[in-house]
Symmetry: C2
């Protein structure tokens, strides 16, 4: 397998990206990792590590897309960006998957409009967040869309449900995955107009196992395997979860410093806190699949560390291995 | 001051409601608490407590609205519900505010369509969640709407911004409160169509201090005093915050049980955890103001305990004392 990594992706590029690639090359010795970006910068970063025997390649790309770059402009303004060059390697068949911790909107725009293109019949792509269900060993769910399509129509949302189901089945390995529609109440009558209309369409849809509306708490407890939302609401939901997580983490640190007993307690609890954190740490998953494109694309968080990059590459491997793109093509064709 | 409490409101009614009323009557001895609901049930619950000298009154209401009752049906089907009777006491001037931990949709429907009515010029009411900003002593923000109006138009959202600003100024006591628009990114270009359109209107609005889009994390850190969203998105945001909070709480309990050192650590950290919890515990606020009505209405969580009910009554007192309804009337008139 050949996986392309945008070496210019993360906020702290290129260190986390390069180090993540090296860890992945060690962990998955059968695969080649193709580092795309400025040749000199990549060479310099690689020279700090012992890479003997690792299957690492470099493909030069002269331009870098910043987080502040407008998605609408990058296709024309930066045709030689690491994202564009990397995606084209997948398009041409020179590689099997593309991974980046860079600008999501730019990746989406280039992938959809200038490189891979959408799978025939797919109305809009969806970005799926893979979440571990705390306290449930190895249980994972997919929440989609979390930001690719902010004004989703009900028909598009039914495709998200289908693509999410196919991901859950093929990549996570869940038989007949349950699909929940993220809403402000479990009752059928709850939701805004888009949710109410989507709910009706999902009830009629025979290709997904729709279990009704689901609230954030039940979603986090694994009440469904696939959680469907539009990109705006899904993004706010995921960011609210993260916001409370990081708030509590800082509160624990601050309160532990306020008395000696608490400080000792915190030291004793350190392994417990570590186990806890591993259950909600996004870097354990590493990357979100961008579904609906003619190729595997995984997008990591801008703040990714090397561990997260390694795991994003792992997500790409899983998607390629399970022939996810073909499965989505077949699934969409069956309802078109 | 005379405050009406729906004695049939909470999920565990009438105990939390009655006990909360008793605590409030003790804490605010100048005020009368009017308990509305089934006379026999209230009498029986009160008889378990020593209420000598407390200003508690009972007004009978023969019907109880369940959480499962449809808001559209309760006006006709249950004209003698504790919510309807209670709201009418405020409408007639016999009381100053209404507090319930009951069905939000039903309260909204009765208040808007059959009892108090909307303030002239208010397009739609908004439910505001008052949140404490962790680690900032006494700093509070208001997030609205969190569920009264799930399909909000941009013009309505600008009224939410204004009503939230007036609440922040008059009740929380913030001079020239900063207004943020909840979105999936800070940039002006981020958001769905409703957010983009609302953003433009807020930029032109001279009566609010608009500081731009805000993400959940910055909102929770107090980056603005008033956070504006439509009722669907606000509801998902608040429920996602709560979901992560309760998830981490159960994870801490579970992990602490997995080894002896962690258990001892957890015991030593108990006071720290308590301090922490007080900073994010919704029962410390107790109730959410329903803004835009011709009267003070505070809605508590169905799972309210006595402490939360007492604090919801306190929220009602603060709103009455600060003449919130008059201030909103004046504010809306100024932009109409």
């Amino acid at each position: 397998m050949r996986i392309v990594l945008d070496a210019m992706g993360s906020d702290d590029r290129p260190s986390p990206d390069i180090e993540g690639a090296i860890i992945a090359a060690r962990d998955f010795p059968g695969d080649s990792i193709i580092l795309v970006g400025d040749h000199n910068i990549i060479d310099q970063a690689l020279s700090k590590h012992n890479t003997t025997g690792l299957k690492l390649e470099i493909v030069h790309a002269s331009q870098i897309i910043e987080m502040s770059d407008k998605p609408a402009a990058v296709i024309k303004d930066k045709p030689n960006s690491s994202i564009h060059v990397g995606l084209d390697l997948v398009k041409s068949g020179a590689a099997d998957a593309f991974v980046t911790a860079g600008n999501t909107g730019a990746t989406l725009a280039i992938a959809t409009l200038a490189s891979l293109g959408r799978i025939s019949g797919v109305k809009r792509p969806a970005l799926g967040s893979i979440l571990k269900v705390p306290q449930s060993i190895d249980k994972k769910i997919i929440l989609l869309d979390i930001g690719a399509t902010v004004d989703a129509k009900p028909e598009w949302m039914t495709q998200f449900a289908l693509m999410g189901s196919i991901y859950a089945r093929e990549v996570i390995g869940i038989n007949n995955p349950k699909v929940g529609l993220l809403s402000n109440g479990e009752e059928d009558s709850k939701g805004n107009q888009v949710i109410l209309d989507t709910h009706k369409l999902l009830l009629e849809m025979k290709t997904v196992n729709f279990v009704g509306n689901i609230e954030p708490k039940e979603a986090l407890q694994g009440g469904a395997d696939v959680i469907v939302s539009d990109g705006f609401v899904g993004n706010i939901a995921i960011k609210s979860l993260e916001a409370m997580g990081s708030t509590i983490a800082s509160l624990i640190r601050a309160e532990a410093k306020r008395d000696m007993a608490a400080l000792v307690g915190a030291l004793l609890m350190r392994p417990a806190f570590k186990r806890l954190y591993r259950q909600i740490d996004p870097s354990e998953i590493g990357g979100a699949p961008l579904l609906g494109l003619k190729g595997v694309v995984i997008i990591g968080h801008g703040r990714s560390n090397a561990h997260a990059i390694r795991n994003a590459i792992r997500q790409a491997r899983l998607a390629v291995e399970s022939k996810l793109v073909q499965a989505i093509e077949d699934g969409i064709q069956a309802i078109s």
